[in-house]
Each structure stands twice: as C-alpha cells, then as structure tokens.
C-alpha cells in the first residue's frame, strides 16, 4: 500500500478528489459571486467586478449627503467595564464634600422624601452617566442642569463613587406585601416590553441600568411619561422610550407603585 504515491496526478484518487472539489468550489463561486447577483435587477450592479464585490460583502461607502440629525442632544456616554470598578476611598471622600451641595434635594445621606431620586447606594455608572447627560444637555432639568453645567469629569466620578458607597436605606414607603405586577415580572412580549425586573433589579440587574427600589412613585411615573412623550431622550438607542411608549397608564402606575414599595 505504501508504494503508491498519494500526492501525484497519476494517483486517480488524488486527481479525482482534488478535481471534483475544485470544480464544485469554482462553480459555486461563479454562481454565487457572479451569476446570482447579476440576476437580481434590484441590485443595479455596474459589472462583473461590482457583482463580485457586492456578493462577497465588501462594504460600500455610504452615499454622500446630509444625514438626519435629531433636533436634540443625544447621550454620548458609553458604559464600559471601567465604570463598574470599585472606586478608591480618596475619590469617595472628595465626592462626600462635593455632595453637600446636592443634599438640599437628595438628602444629606442621599435619601429624601422630596420626590427627588434617592441616590444612596445607586450604581456609580448610573450617577456618572446622568451627570454627564445633564452637563451635555442630553437630559434637561431646570434644577439639575445648572448644577452639572460646570462639573469636571473627575467631580462626576467622585460624586458617583460617593453615592454608590453610601448604604441603601429602606424607604419610608417600603411594603413587602405589594405584589409584583405583570409588567415587572413578564413584561409584554407581544408589545415588545421586556420585564422591568430583568434590568432594574428584583430579577436581574443589567450593567448601566439604575436600581429603582425605593424611588418615589411620583418620580418614576414622571420619568416614564417623559420617556413616552420624548421630552426625556438620553436613553441609549431609545431603549426606555421604546418601552415607555408601549406601556399603558395603568402599567406605568403599577410599576411605579411596586418599585416605591421595594427596599
């Protein structure tokens, strides 16, 4: 058996297998890269080379011309793994000093009954992103925007680190007996609403989504309505706007009440 040379054109197995394989490959390439694309009038190809490039998936330069721009600023924050790191004590200390000017609305310990969001124990990435968006104008609020306007990047990082460091305090309105409404547990797949709990706590927490437990009903409702109407638009890729637009007023109410009652 060993005297027969394997890689030789005189070996019929070699010639036939290589020949047939190559023939199939060439034929399928001719069909797939030239004939089929040319057979499709919608592609409007300039010639054979154009057909080959098109079928091989060579990206084409986008057509020149003005692209549609939104008439508002969009968020430029990218959530990276950097934001999920634990911060150093120095940063937390600086944040504690800076936070004194936030205390009037958000409470000296990051908790307040004023229907402004509770920040104690909120994820650092969330606070950092919102401050950035207030500063850039992607999110607008008569009270917050002026505060954020002059903040440096380091100040925003420090504040985020400080509030993330503060322990979560159970809200006065915590009530373990409030049942989770369907929109929190299952969402509504047919309306493209994922369960709130899949990102905002309770079931799972996705990096970059705020923890909602204990936030006031008034605040959550106001934000959902703002997302639905488009007055708030700093959610990346319209994630929350797409959801809020689909929610009924009853679902908004139920979700807000549920999260307010959570620890």
């Amino acid at each position: 058996m060993s005297e027969q040379k394997l890689f030789s054109l005189r070996n019929p197995w070699f010639a036939a297998s290589v020949g047939v394989t190559a023939a199939i490959a060439i034929l399928s390439a001719l069909l797939g890269l030239i004939w089929l694309p040319l057979a499709q009038p919608d592609l409007k190809l300039a010639g054979i080379w154009d057909a080959i490039c098109s079928a091989a998936g060579v990206p084409r330069a986008a057509r020149e011309g003005p692209s549609l721009q939104p008439d508002f600023k969009t968020s430029s924050v990218v959530v990276t793994s950097e934001m999920l790191r634990r911060s150093d004590p120095v940063s937390i200390g600086r944040g504690a000093t800076l936070a004194q000017r936030c205390a009037i609305c958000h409470g000296p310990q990051g908790v307040s009954d004023a229907n402004s969001p509770n920040l104690a124990g909120q994820y650092a990435a969330v606070i950092y992103k919102e401050l950035n968006d207030f500063k850039s104008g992607a999110r607008v609020n008569a009270v917050m925007s002026p505060f954020a306007a002059n903040m440096t990047n380091q100040e925003m990082l420090d504040l985020a680190a400080y509030y993330a460091y503060l322990p979560r305090v159970p809200s006065n309105r915590a009530d373990p007996n409030v049942p989770a409404p369907p929109v929190v547990t299952t969402g509504s797949p047919m309306r493209n609403i994922p369960p709130c709990g899949a990102c905002h706590g309770d079931f799972d927490t996705k990096a970059g989504s705020p923890w909602l437990g204990g936030q006031s009903t008034v605040y959550i409702k106001a934000q959902l309505e703002a997302f639905a109407s488009g007055t708030r638009h700093n959610d990346i890729s319209q994630q929350m706007r797409n959801i809020a637009r689909q929610m009924t007023p009853q679902e908004v109410e139920a979700a807000a009440r549920y999260y307010e009652a959570q620890p």
Binding site: M1, Q4, L31
Partner: protein, 541 residues
C-alpha cells in the same frame, strides 16, 4: 482486546452522569416555558438552565463519549494497548475539571449566555476558561488517536488500517480542526473582554468563528454513531458489512466537507456576503452524500443479515431481521430519526427556505431530533454493546433495553414534531416566556404542551438507561470474550493509499476552509469600526 477498561469506563460514566443531569434540566425547560406552567419566577433561571443544558449536552457529553469510544476502538481494533495512557487520563481530568469550572459561574447566574456564547453578550471568564479546558482535554485525545494510528501503520505497513480505527481517526481530525474556530473566538474575541482587558467586541467576526465550529461539531457528535452503524450493527445482527470502501469514503467525505459550511448558520447575519452564504449552502448540500451512502450501505448490510437468516422477497426480508436485538432496534429507530432530521436539515441549508424558519423553534426541534434522537440513541446502543466487555458482567435484560429505546424514540418524536410545527407558525427560540393568552400565539399552546409530554417520556427513558447500566455494573461476573467489529463482505487486504491515510483529505479540508472562510474572516479582521460595546451578563455593580 480491551486493556484500559477503567479509562474507557470513566469516560462513559462521566458522560452519562452529565447527560442525566442535563436531561433533567432539559425536561424542566420544556415545562417551564409551556402553557402548563403558571408564570411565577425569574426568567434568568431559564437562561441559566439553557446555558447549562447546552454546554453539558454539546461540549461535555458527546466529547466524552467520542473519547471513551475512541480509546475502546483503538485497543479493540488495533489489538494492542493504547499508547499514552497517562496522557489519556490527563485529558480526561482536563475535561472533568473544565466542566466543573464552566458550570460553576453558570449555576451562579454569572454566565447565562447560552452555550453558543452569543457575543456581544459576555459572561464570567471562568465559563469560557472551563470550555477551553474541555476542548484542550479533547485535543489530547485527538493527538493520541493520531499517534496510535501512525504507530500502528508504521508497524503494519502491509495491512489496511481497520475500518473502525480509520473512522475514529477521521472523527478526531474533524474535531481537532473544527474546534479551532470556537477556540479562536474565545481566546481572541471573548476572553479579553470577559477579563476586562477590552470593553468592545467584534461580534460579527466572533460569530463567523463560531460558525466554523458550530456545524461540524454536529458531525463530530455523529461520527461515533456512524462508526456504530458500520462496525457494530452488521456484526450484532449476525451479518456482514456491505462495503468497507463505501464506509471509508463516507468518513472521508465528512472530513472534507463537514467543516467549511458553517455560514449557513449565519444566513440572517449581515456581516457575511450573500455570495459566500450561497457557496456554504452548496457545500452543506454535499454533506447529504455521506449520509445517503451510509443509509444505503447499512440497509444493504441489514439485507445481507436478513437473507442469511432466511429472509425473502423484495421487502419481506425486513420482517426476518432480529428485531428483539436492542442494537437492531436502536439502529432502525436512529435511521428513522435521521431521515426526518435530515430532511429538515436540507430545508435549513437552503438559503431561501431557511428564511421561513431561521431562529424559530423549528431549529431547536431539528437539532434535538438529529443529535438527541438519531445520534444519542446510538450512544445508548454503543454502551449496551460495550458494557459487558468493559465491566466483565452480563447486560442481558433485552426487554428493558428495548423498552428504553422505544421510549426514547417515541419521546423524541413527540417532543420534536410539535416543536418543528410551532417553528413554522413562527414561534421564536431562546425565549423564557410566551404569553399564550395572546390570540396571536394561543394556537401554539397545544403543540407546546405536547412537547412537554415528550420531554417527560425522554426523561423516563434516560433514567431507565442509567438504571440498566447501574444494574449491569452489579450483575455477576461473566466472560464476554474479545470485542469484535463487523467484517466486510469483501475483507480488504489491499486498498488504495488514499483510503488508508488522511494526508490528502486534511489538505482538502484546510484548502476548502481557506476558500470558504478566508475572505469573510480576512475582511472582518481588516475592517475598522466593526466592534460594538460588550453586554456584560450577570455583572455585579
């Protein structure tokens, strides 16, 4: 001549233990997302369970079966002890430890990315490290199969390599090469992100790399089944193999065309050009050839056995087959499932037909019918056939074995046929929750409930299978004699060098990979701005 019986048994036992656990998860998943379940818990558990089920059934279970069966074939067909027993144990340990390392983060909910990884989702690094350990452990087996094959050929230059060993080495080479895609994906795309070195990932390129593995891995799972068809079935029913050369050509065809076809999994993905999708579709069509050759050869071998037993007539010979023999029954049931599954597969590989069922439950039904059905039922048969030789104890409760095989077949049909059907209705896969109260999908509720019944039948059959093996382990000692493989009608004494070696076929395999994957991969590697931010799953904040 089986010498390292403990090594082989360890592989089979670990494989079947993993299979048993993953089977329970699978049955639970079927129930969980069915209308029989009142929705009351965390959807995250579903994805966690699917990840564990897929990783165990896809990476650990068949790999261990192929490895254990491969060692058994090496010793029994070459009639000499395995070279590299310590390495084999090391490979086994790597697979076992890797499985634990991968499953720990999955069960903690830190890596619910499903077993196909789905970047840009990125989970805990230990999940991927565990999978890499499993793959590296199996590569030890690939190397050992090659070393034993070459060493035997050097010592026996004038004899053809026994068919079982030839096919076994074909399977190992196929796996060695096809696992490279997933390894590239994990090492260069996913792990750097999972370890926090990068925060963006080229999801398109990663998916192309995975498709390199994703289709041929099924043929790697399939090879032990085909080896059983060719080298166990004819002997077990008292016949002869119709053609030794046909068998070799089938395995060679798998080596050459099973791998460079994976882009048909990406028909709906935008990052690969339509022309390459077409080429992959054509080559996927070619993989039907070795299967059709096999069905023909196995049916011919069965006819030989039947006529030797006095079977007559154009079709009457079918009744004269030894139907009470579990191997006969398993092979027949396996071929039926292969027929249905294969027909479904031809639909999946057609560029146009695929668009109807892409990413629907049809796909999940399809690969369960092929892998869980046609392939795994032959793993049962292999275990039944090998067990007396490995344990030195009789395994003689044929009635129980037949019940188990029938239950598996019925369970698989009852599970997967409705599964295919709801896929045609448009039911998407990879979802934890379906609102069956919605009029748009309420007609699917009955079919999904039927699948749950099938899953319970499968679970019963799986438990029965493990009980049979455990009972076999406790039966009184008995001498099973030497382990033998089927003999061909025309026993090969001299065969062409091409049918006795792999050089040419490996060259064609790599060459076709370059032709079919070279440009899509090169283009995605060269293109800038194809990276997207990773989506961290289970990230603690």
């Amino acid at each position: 001549m089986l010498i390292n019986k403990r090594l082989i048994l360890a592989h089979f036992w670990l494989a079947f233990a993993v299979f048993g656990l993953a089977l329970v998860l699978g049955a639970w998943q079927m129930f969980e997302r069915s209308p029989l379940n009142a929705w009351h818990f965390d959807p995250e558990f579903y994805y966690r369970s699917v990840t564990a089920h897929g990783s165990a059934m896809g990476y650990v279970f068949p790999t261990l079966v192929a490895m254990g069966f491969g060692y058994a074939i090496t010793e029994a067909s070459l009639e000499r002890p395995l070279i590299g027993v310590r390495w084999a144990w090391a490979g086994f340990l790597l697979v076992a430890v890797g499985a634990v390392v991968a499953m720990a983060p999955v069960s903690l909910g830190l890596a619910s990315v499903l077993y196909t990884f789905y970047p840009p989702m990125v989970g805990n690094p230990f999940y991927y490290i565990g999978v890499v350990m499993v793959v590296v452990g199996s590569w030890v087996w690939v190397a050992l199969m090659s070393i034993n094959f070459v060493a035997w050929k050097r010592d026996n230059p004038d004899r053809p390599v026994p068919l079982a060993m030839f096919a076994n080495v074909a399977g190992s080479y196929l796996w060695g090469w096809t696992a490279v895609g997933a390894a590239l994906e994990i090492l260069f795309q996913i792990l750097p992100v999972a370890l926090g070195l990068r925060s963006t990932i080229d999801a398109g390129l990663a998916r192309v790399f995975f498709s390199w593995t994703l289709h041929a891995i099924v043929y790697f799972w399939l090879i032990p089944t085909y080896i059983a068809y060719y080298t166990i079935f004819p002997r077990a029913i008292g016949g002869r193999l119709f053609s030794d050369a046909m068998a070799r050509i089938s395995f060679i065809l798998f080596v050459v065309v099973a791998m460079p076809i994976g882009v048909h999994h990406l028909f709906a993905d935008p990052q690969v050009g339509a022309g390459f999708k077409f080429m992959h579709s054509v080559f996927t069509g070619l993989v039907t050839l070795p299967t059709l050759l096999t069905v023909f050869t196995i049916a011919a071998s069965a006819e030989i056995a039947s006529r030797l037993r006095g079977g007559r007539g154009a079709f009457g010979w079918v009744t004269a087959l030894p139907w009470s023999n579990p191997i006969m029954l398993a092979t027949a049931l396996s071929l039926v499932m292969l027929g249905f599954g294969g027909a479904g597969g031809i639909i999946n590989m057609s560029y146009q037909l695929d668009s109807t069922i892409h990413n629907t439950q049809w796909i999940t039904g399809h690969f369960h019918l092929i892998f869980g059905g046609a392939i795994v039922i032959m793993y049962f048969a292999i275990a039944y056939d090998l067990w007396p030789h490995l344990t030195g104890r009789a395994l003689d409760n044929f009635g129980l074995m037949r019940t188990q095989l029938w239950l598996w077949f019925i369970g698989m049909i009852v599970t997967t046929f409705p599964w295919h059907y709801v896929g045609i209705l448009g039911m998407p896969r990879r979802m934890a929750f379906y609102d069956y109260a919605d009029p748009a999908i309420s007609p699917q509720a009955f079919a999904v409930s039927m699948s749950v019944v099938g899953a319970l039948i499968l679970l019963t059959s799986g438990i029965l299978f493990l009980l049979i093996l455990i009972r076999g382990q406790m039966a009184p000692l008995y001498e099973a004699g030497a382990y033998r493989f089927s003999v061909a009608v025309h026993v090969p004494t001299r065969i062409p060098v091409a049918l006795n070696s792999f050089g040419l076929w490996l060259a064609l395999m790599v060459g076709l990979t370059v032709v079919n994957y070279g440009y899509p991969i090169a283009q995605l590697m060269v293109l800038k701005d194809t990276n997207v931010p990773a989506v961290y799953v289970g990230a603690t904040q």
